[in-house]
Structures are given as structure tokens and as C-alpha cells.
Symmetry: D2
């Protein structure tokens, strides 16, 4: 008996488009899914690069009008991988059209958008997912297991940084990610959102925050034509940077844990340093995305003679996701976090279960982003 087929329409074909396409293409080769994935249509505004992307990434069709994709009865899942300013419109339309909606993070550029999106998918009773893909690294999933199993006891501290440096050069141009009207925010929504998600996932909901957002370089050369990844051509004319270069906050979680969060694109030398440390009464955990196959675990039950942080290679067949790939210590990479997320999403979708993370997570994340922004403006604590 052949499997049900789920056809995907992907809106957006740049960095995230490439990553999502790879996941859809690969997932069935590593996971025994309850449905077959059809890479039906990829959608973008510029026909030439769009066709090239379709060929390169393995999509059957192209379409320049996202509304046609959303309305296409052959399509089951709409994947929203565009810049943040179009997420809400596309996702809401997709929900109304009865499609499952898998959306990049942050789900909207504002809390209002996020709320409307969540209401739309809930009203339409369609499956929904948000691409907080780092939950799906085996080492992070193992961290979650250990916490759920009580291995950390009462959690006292969450300490997270997401550090990059790709715009530290003042001559790096004003790409869309530096424009508030397109990107919504800077590091805050782009990478702080990731560590907020990890904090919520691993420790719990936040109660109150005190933060600051800051822009170091306030004017940059206008970008020429924007290229397929993050880069851009520099020009002589200058424009205003309207988003934050760095965003950080201290927080109290509802369960009493204390948290620090810091995101920056000005941490020279740090390329993709998404690191967290959790300290609990029974143990501690450390993760760093740049060594994403590893998890450090301190078990307070170990006798003093031999206690210390243990470097777990989260690549054993028994570790989450890892058994689907290669033997122990034959590592996987960044792209596999998306594959794992799609595997989970499709599995739960077919089973009629809640996908995790979903728009509820996306919305809660946005509530935190919003509270930190208000805290930064008000120069005081904001409750959630």
C-alpha cells in the first residue's frame, strides 16, 4: 500500500529556502515517515533565480504569485520562508485555505501579527509549525530528555548567548535584515529569538525581563542587489540602520530560575556561537551550536573524586534523531536540524498530534521579544 503524499509549497528561496528544501528532499531517506513528501512548488518573485533555485533544490514547479500556491488544491503544506514582513499575510491566507502552515521564525514582525497568525491557524484548525530548528539538534533534544528525567533537579540558572560578527564591519551594506520594515528587528528577532525558544523549551516560561537593544553602527552603505545568501553589494550612498545590532536581557522564569540572554552581530570572531548553560540543583548542561554534536553534562551525583563536566557525543544510536543517520561520532551538521524538525512535524501532522514547536511557541516567543523591546525603551522591568 502506498503512503499518503503531502505536497509542499515553499514560499521563499534564499538561505532558509535552501535549508528547508534540503530537509524536504532528505527526510524520507533517513526517517520512515507516515507520508511521502512531494516537493511540489517553489515560489519567489524573480523568475530567473527562482527557476535556478527550483532546479538546484529539487522542486517540480515554480510560481511567482504566492497566492496561487496557497490556493493550489494539490498542495498540503505551505512553508513560509520569506522575510518577516510577509509572514503574517501568507500564513493567514494559507490557514484560511486549509493548508498546514510551517513558518520561519520569528513568526511575525510584531506581536499583533503573531497573535493574528496564531488565531488564524487555530480558527482554521490546520497543523502549524515554526522553524525553531535548534530544538532538533540531537544534543539539544538529549538536554531536554535529561531535564525531563529530572537529572538537573531544580533549575537555578539559564545563561545563553548567540554571537555572530557578520555585520561588524561598518562598511557591510544595509541589507534587508538591517531594515526594520522588512526584518522587524535585528539580532533580537533573528538570533535572540532562537535562544529565547531554547530557554522556554528547556527551562520554561518567562515571568519578567529587563533588557537593552543597541545599534552600534547607525548608518551603512545602501545595498546593491541583494544576493541569495546574506551578502550584498556595497554602494556609496548611506542609509539608516533601523534595527538593533545587539540585544540582551536578564530575566526571571516563572519557576524561579534566573536567566541571561545576549545576542549580537558585533562579537568579532564569533561566527555562529549559540551557546547555553543550565545549572540545576542536580546537574548542569552546556551546549554550543558550533560543536552541535556535543553536550556537556555535570552530574552532581557523581562522587567528588571523579566529578566534572562530561563531554557527551550525542551521536549514539540511542540518542534522539542520531540513530537515523550514521554510526557514533560520525557527525551530522546544521542542515540535519531542519530534517529532524520536518520529520517530527510530518509525523505529528499525520497522527493528528500537536507539532512542536508550533505557532503557540512562535507567539509566546514574540511576547518575550516584545516585552524586552518595551523594557529597553522604558528602562525598567516588564512582566509577561
Amino acid at each position: 500500500m502506498s503512503k499518503k503524499k503531502l505536497n509542499v509549497g515553499l514560499i521563499g528561496y534564499q538561505f532558509m529556502g535552501k535549508a528547508h528544501s534540503n530537509a524536504y528532499r532528505q527526510v524520507g531517506h533517513f526517517f520512515d515517515l507516515p507520508a511521502e513528501i512531494g516537493m511540489h512548488t517553489i515560489c519567489g518573485r524573480t523568475p530567473g533565480p527562482l527557476k535556478a533555485a527550483a532546479d538546484q533544490f529539487g522542486w517540480a514547479n515554480t510560481e511567482t504569485d504566492w497566492r496561487k500556491v496557497v490556493e493550489n488544491p494539490e498542495i498540503d503544506i505551505i512553508d513560509v520562508s520569506t522575510p518577516g514582513n510577509s509572514h503574517a499575510e501568507i500564513a493567514i491566507a494559507a490557514a484560511k485555505a486549509g493548508k498546514a502552515v510551517f513558518c520561519e521564525k520569528p513568526i511575525g514582525n510584531t506581536l499583533a501579527e503573531a497573535k493574528a497568525m496564531l488565531e488564524a491557524v487555530q480558527a482554521a484548525k490546520v497543523p502549524h509549525a515554526v522553524f525553531h530548528n535548534y530544538r532538533k539538534a540531537p544534543a539539544v533534544a538529549l538536554a531536554k530528555q535529561l531535564i525531563t528525567d529530572g537529572r538537573l533537579g531544580t533549575i537555578y540558572h539559564w545563561r545563553a548567548t548567540y554571537l555572530q560578527d557578520w555585520i561588524a564591519d561598518p562598511n557591510f551594506p544595509l541589507v534587508w535584515r538591517l531594515q526594520k520594515e522588512v526584518a522587524g528587528s535585528g539580532t533580537h528577532g533573528d538570533i535572540n529569538a532562537h535562544i529565547i525558544d531554547l530557554g522556554r523549551h528547556l527551562v520554561g516560561e518567562l515571568a519578567e525581563v529587563s533588557g537593552m537593544l543597541h545599534t552600534f553602527i547607525k548608518k551603512r552603505p545602501l545595498a546593491g542587489e541583494i544576493d541569495a545568501n546574506l551578502g550584498a553589494k556595497a554602494s556609496q550612498e548611506m542609509g539608516d540602520v533601523t534595527v538593533d545590532d545587539a540585544a540582551m536581557f536578564i530575566a526571571r522564569f516563572k519557576n524561579g530560575a534566573l536567566g541571561t540572554f545576549e545576542a549580537s552581530r558585533f562579537a568579532v570572531g564569533r561566527k555562529n556561537y549559540n551557546r547555553f548553560e543550565i545549572n540545576g540543583s542536580k546537574g548542569s548542561l552546556v551546549f554550543n551550536l558550533e560543536r552541535m554534536n556535543e553536550l556537556e553534562f555535570y552530574d552532581n551525583a557523581t562522587p567528588e573524586q571523579t566529578h566534572g563536566f562530561t563531554l557527551i557525543q550525542a551521536t549514539e544510536g540511542s540518542h534522539p534523531y542520531a540513530g537515523h543517520y550514521w554510526p557514533v561520532a560520525h557527525i551530522i551538521g546544521y542542515e540535519h536540524t531542519f530534517t529532524n524538525l520536518i520529520a517530527d512535524a510530518v509525523t505529528n501532522m499525520v497522527a493528528g498530534k500537536r507539532i512542536e514547536p508550533d505557532f503557540v511557541d512562535g507567539y509566546e516567543n514574540q511576547r518575550v521579544l516584545d516585552a524586552v523591546e518595551r523594557s529597553s525603551e522604558a528602562k525598567g522591568w516588564v512582566s509577561l
Copy 2:
């Protein structure tokens, strides 16, 4: 104009079959190749698992008789991924049939086999490649670049270990990799061969060796049915382990460098620890496969105030292979070494250039393996 298509016939569908299949499937999505890869036929002896493998890995056809694959005029490349005792027969037949031959390492189980295989592909003037895939990790390719650029100066030391522990349990059963008549040797041909290749690739040819091979556990439970990866079911009956558990040697390279090589499957706690260090008059390099996106470089030209080993993340767009994948520090994994190797092999094959590494490398590697075995038996140095 459509690209030339190169159809592949893959012989073998276990661990290496899975890795090679993934590479053939993925390579065109990340590299702009001069030819399209056709995943034509996968071949194995047992129809049921073979069909499952074909479906999972993405092959169009199955075939239980490798001779039919070799003779199939639609097929351009024969990929030999069987255990070592069938490499020579298949590869020689494929060469005689005019096919390109891409063969797993070590190319044969004996030096005589390797020699016959090399002669066969040379006589048939067909393209040939051997899967010493670790050359193709970006960090290793960067190491090669730095050496070629003279950044290490005169090389004094090569120091390599390849450490695993998957058979350290004495009750681990007698799988095919522990039987000389199938595998040819134990750690020696399996993993020592990898660091020998890296040593030859990065430092140069060896002049003489003094080594020892050793078997710690001489009897093991007979394996039940062998599973798709390395595992097996244990039984009560015992059989003789006829290969080495550990193999190590000291060496002189022709260029005057000194080398140490050590491979073991009894290094408890080491899972896939393929590490090398090279010391030259102008600098040093360190690589460890378990952190395969990283390369440590010591530059002797740096002033004393700030000298030290620099942890390079070999993930920049300008680093070898890395630009085909993801932004900096969004790491790749084990599987990508095969993708890179196939990309190079197909590119060179279409261009009529020598593929690297090829059967010459496979043969030279086997000469070293053979010399070390003879040295171990004779308890003295053996010249190459």
C-alpha cells in the same frame, strides 16, 4: 542544453552503500557538476533488504547479480562498496567492461589484489577513484592548501591516531570485519588505511616502517545474522578472531619527516577519533574527525606575544568545499566528505583528468599496509 548523464551502479548496500547513495543523491544539489548523476541500480545478494535499501536510498533499480550490473550498457560508473574480499573481482570486471570504477578502501585485501586492480584500470584506461573520503573534509583540504602554500615549511613530524572502541566488549560477536578471509585485516585495513592515506596525502610517501599488529580478544561469539550497520546478534558458539584489534607503526617518510601511526578498536571511550598533528619548521596543524569542521594551525611567524594554536572553523565560503553548503560555522558532517569526493571525481572524470585519490593511491596505501604487516611478523624495519 541538457547535461551529460552518468549512471551509477552501486554494489553493496550496507554502511558504505548508505553513505555513497547519499552522496550521489545530494551532490548535484550543492555542486554545479558537468554531468548529471543517475542513481541507476543498486546491487546486493538478498532481494528483500536490497529492495528496501533501493527505496530508502533512492535507486531506480535493483539487481542481485553484480555481473549484470557491470555488463549493463546503461551504466557508466561501478561503485564497489562490498566487503574487501570481493573488491578485486568486481573492480577488474568493471574495468574490463569499460566502466569507471569508484572503489571503497582498502582497494583489495592483499597487495597482489591491489596491484591487479590498478593494472586493470590502467589497461582499460577507465577513470578510477578510491574512497579515502577524509581528504575531502574542508578542514583537511585546508590543511593540504596550507602545506602546499609552504605555511608549514619543512615537515618534521606526522603523528596520527585513529581510535575506536566498538569491539572492546569481549562479547561483541565475530562479525565479518573480524574475519580475515572477508575483511583482509582488522583495524589495519579499516582505519589505519585512512591515516596512512592522510599521511601520504599531506606529508608524502613513506620510506620505511616498523610496526606491530595485535589481537587482544582472540575468540568471540559467532555472529547471528549480520545487520545493516556494524552490529550483529551474539550467539553462544565461539569463533577465532583472525584480524588485528590494534595496529601501530613508526615510520620515516622519504622527505625526512618522522611518523607515528596508531589504529585501535580497543580505545575505550574513543568513538571515531581520527586525529593527526603535523609539525613543520614554519608551523603545525591538528585535525580531529570528531570535530571535523575545525583545524588548528600554529603559525611560527606570529610574534611570541600572541602565538599559539588558532582554532580555524573551516566553514568560510572561501574554504575548500565549504562555500557549497551553508554560511560560516553552520557546520557540515561526516556524509559531506563523500559528497565532496563524488563532486571532485565526477568533475575530473568528465574533464578527463586524474581523479584524486585513485587506484594509484589505493595501491600505494596497500603497499604500506603490507610493509607494516611484514614488519610486525619479522620484528624489524621494512623498506618501501
Copy 3:
């Protein structure tokens, strides 16, 4: 010609007393000082343990009344190593008696005390020093050099944590360090003070802070007799913990850099994890006291091919302080930071130069501690 002799009177003989004694005893054997150090008198309240300490640490005389030490005309330097609640009284008396005053940190338990102490030494025109000893680790001094030389460019980020876990056990007793009336504060004055000093030293003065102090365990068993180090005997009776278990804040420096500071005694698994990272436009630095001989440096001027964090072993003869000890990579330890501080202090004292760090540093440090406390209470930002 014999050197001038400077006699020291040490008030306090527990953990800091042991560390300071070692420094006075050793400094002349590694540094060619302009004066000889005389270990004249050690002072404490309990004669028996005091005599034992004198013998063990190498002091010529003992005295149970600190006032007699301060008034002793043979003594040149008063070292204040008692708990914080007696610093001000002793230091002010010593200054009035015309002695040089070397005081443990934080210099007082309140800002008012710190101010009075600073005024006292300035009024008396006596030399003064404060034991922010971590400035004197060779790796930290090298960091200072690199910053002074402009190797980091404009500093964007300071990120510091000082993490310990020695009171994470809720049954750990109520020792003096957990009592506000003795210790002034908990982690805040004890270890946050250290990273505040490092931040001031390496980046500059703070402009404003938003912080929180928190006590996880609010009642603990009363301590029995307090022992010579940090430990204590547990009893059944419970008492109130009146200091913070964790203290953290975000900050803006006057030069525009952003900072995060976090100190905790509840970071299970972290023993003495005093780590900072500084990101500037031209480079970055990382230090961790647990590997105090090392400094990581990222030089943004390095070409992309080989850029990365360089692990400098700050043990070369040309590195600060290191040349006084052992050959390269023959590491030194915690105790040597005190030795280096004393060497600098005595050298500058004899030369009539400002000692660094001194009571000005101590006072400025206390201003930050005070501002963070007020911020925590007011739940808002406090300017300095």
C-alpha cells in the same frame, strides 16, 4: 648595600591570610624588589590557631589586638585580610597611623565605608592597594597590554561570569560569608566584585546598570565553629541567609561598550569559573581563571583562510610576570596572582608611584556594587 626593609603586619589568618602570607614569603625569591619584605606580625583573635598560622605561614610574631599592630612603629604595611565588616575600622586606623594599607576586596561592606577609607588614605597620604589579584594573572595582564596597544579597536562587548557552586547544597551551613552584617553581601561583593574590577580595568568605567540579586536558599543550618577555610560544621538549628546567592546585571560603559556580569554560588559544577570575553572592532579576547595561564585572542586582521581564536599560553618569558617564574608552558597557579600584586605594590610604593589597583579602584568598584543593589531594589536602571 642592603635593601630597605618593609615590615608587614597581617590582620587575619584564614583563606586570604594564607594566600597573602605565601605571597610575602615568595615574592623576593622571584622578583628583584627595591625593598626586602619582613613578615613581622600576624594578628588574629584566637591565640592557638593564630600561633599555628604564624608557624605555618612564616610570621615572626603574633598579636591578638589589631590596634597594637597598627600602632607598632616597626611595621610599615598593614594588610587587612579580615571579613569585610572590620575593613574600614582597621584600614582607617592604619592610615591614621601612617602605615601603607593593603586591603582585601571589597574594601568595605558599604559605599560609605569605602568612601571613608579612601578619604583616610588620601588624607594620610599613605600608599594603598586593594587585592583585586586577578588583574595580575599573566594572561589578564597580557589582555590589558593588547587592549592598550589597540589590538581590540573599539570595544563593543564585555561579557563576564564568575560561577561557583560551594553553597548549592541547601544543607551547607550559615557561615560568615552568608551573613550580611559580616560579609556585606554574598556573591555580589565576593565574586561579582572581581569581574567588576576586571571590567573596569580592561574596558573602562560603567555608566549605568540594571541588575538583580537573588537568594535561592533562604534558611540554612547554623554553622558550628568556623574552620580555617570556607567550610563549617552543620548544626540542626536554622538561620536566615541575609545575602544574595546570585547577582547579575547588564550595563553600559561610558565608552559605549555593553556589558553583562553574572556571579553565582549556585552554578553546580562550576568551581571557580571566572570567565570574561571582550569583543572589539579589531579583535576579541577570552579568559577563564580555571585555565588562568591561557588567553584566547581573535585578531580580525588575520586573513579569512586562517582566522580563528588563538590559544595563547601566557607563559613566555616576554609575557607579563611570566619571566620571573619558569620556562614557557611550565604553568603557575592561583597563588602567583598575589605574589605578582605584592611585587607591583612594593615596587610602586618604594618608587612613590600610585599602586594599581588601589583604594580608588576599591571605591569605584563599590560604587558599582552599590548601584547594582539599588537597581535590583528599584527594578530599573541606575546611573553611576
Copy 4:
């Protein structure tokens, strides 16, 4: 009641003289010894520098004729810290004079010397010790404990390197350590001897070896006046390097373990990289002198979910030696290994127990050095 006093006469005042002096001076301040150490006399040939050394290091008297020190009835312990070519004569004379003899390693420049020295101390029934100080690092002593407690099970592998680079520059002059008639050998006796001692101490006696010694730079500028540490002044005239620049061997231990040993002064970038790894059936250990406060331990009994190498900070009060110094993770350094050795030696000497390591260890070590040299010449295995 006052303690017995043991007066020391130290022969030699350069690098080792400084290290030993520090240990004698400090040991009583950290250990409660059964005897008081008297730093009676330091001996060297050149009065000026000798007097300076005495003052700097804290010795009461100086003497230019070692025979007078050996014959001095006030002296109990003769410490032999001269270059290797005078060890035998001094040590034998000291033994005959009834003194305890504490000798630097390797104890002699030849096996014959070592044998004569061992016979002399045994005939004279005097206490004897050899300065294989790295046994006394807390982390190494902890390794020994874990092995003794059976935590490693059957040992399969010993893997050690001692890498330095201080003579990698071909213009580094021909100091005494590069002259066979003074130093006996190069890296072999200087640093290979250290890892041989660690291998013997931790794994057991060697059964057979196959090795090679090599000199990369055969002529060097003659040294000018030799300075107090390793350095020297370069001159124009060239002389022959008569010792090895690198020495390495593979080995079988009597208990069946396999070993690799490699020492080099041409490992550019490695400053004092004395690293070993031990793999046993139940666990593994890794130590590196450059991070000498740490020990990595892999416990094979840990469940797969959380197994990995644990980074133990061997600084707990319960760890060997560590409790004598500072609180946990307040690290100690190179010099403390000598202090610990002296503490053990004096304690055992007073108790009439065997000191460990002693001349038996020194002699067995020399037997291995000698066997490796003969193996290198004969190009074959040599049994011990």
C-alpha cells in the same frame, strides 16, 4: 617538642636548582612534615652567580667544591641537580658518605652509571629519590589511584608524547643539552625519560621496544656563555649536535598493554606538551601537563546516554596533594610537583620507608632508554 631537622646540600643552581630550592623552601608551609628542612648549602663552580643564586633561592651557605658538601657532617640530604655527566660521581660519593641522595633524572648518562648509582645507595643503605616529579601532579596521582582501584580494568593502550619546540630554530646554539658528553642524550633522556617513567608508574614494566632516535639539525652555532635557564648566546662558529632531536618507540608492556612513546624538541608550537592517554577495558584517562590540574576520565560503566570523557579538576580537597594548597579550582602549577615530591620523600625517609620514585625507578627507566637506543641502532626490537 621541636622537629628533627634535615639539612640539604644542593649541587647545581640553574633551572632545576631553582625548582628544587623553591620546593625545599615551600614544602613546610603546606605540609605538616615529620622533619624540618634546612636549606644549608648550595654548591656551584662559579662564586658570583652561586652567591646570587643562594640569595635568591634562600640558601644559608655556598660552596664551590661539591666534595666538601658531600663530606659536611651537618648535611643530611644531597640533592644532585647538575647536568647528567656528573650525577654518578656525586651521587656515589654522597651515598658512601652516608647521605640521602635525591637526584635529578635521568639518574645517569649511561646504563652502567645508573647501575653503579643504584648499587651504591643500596650498599650504603641510604634513602634515595629521583625527580620524576610529574608523578606528583595531583591529576597524575589521581590517575594512579583510579588505576589502582581497578577503574580502568585491563589496560590495552598507553599513548604518550612529550613535545617541545625550543630548539626548532636551526640557529639556536649548541648548549650543553645538545652535547652527548654532558647531557648523555637529547630529548630521549630529557623528556622521553619522563613519559617512560609515567608509563612504568601507571601501566607497568616494559617487555620490548622498537624505536628510532633522530637528529634533524646536525650542526649548530657554538654557544657563548651558558645562561641560567635554557638559553644561550649564539656565535658564528658551528659545532656538531651529538644528541637526538626526537626519539620515539612502540612497545609491549609485560602485562600485555601496547605502548607508543614520542618525544621531540621539533614540534613547533608545542611548548611543554607532556600528554598521555591510557585505554583500559573499563575506562580511559587523558592528562596533559600544560593543563596539569585536569584529568579526563572515561568510565565505561556510565550508561550510553551520558557517557563521555569527564573533565575532572583535580583540585578538590580530597584529591591527592590538592588539599594542602587552595580551594577547589584555585589551581597550582609546575613548581608544586617538586614540592609534593619533596613532601613524600621526606615523609618516607623519616618513616624509614621506600621513597617513590627512587633509584630503582631511575635504573629501570635507564634500562628502557638504553634498550630504545640499541633498538634504534639495530633497527629491530629489543627485549628488556
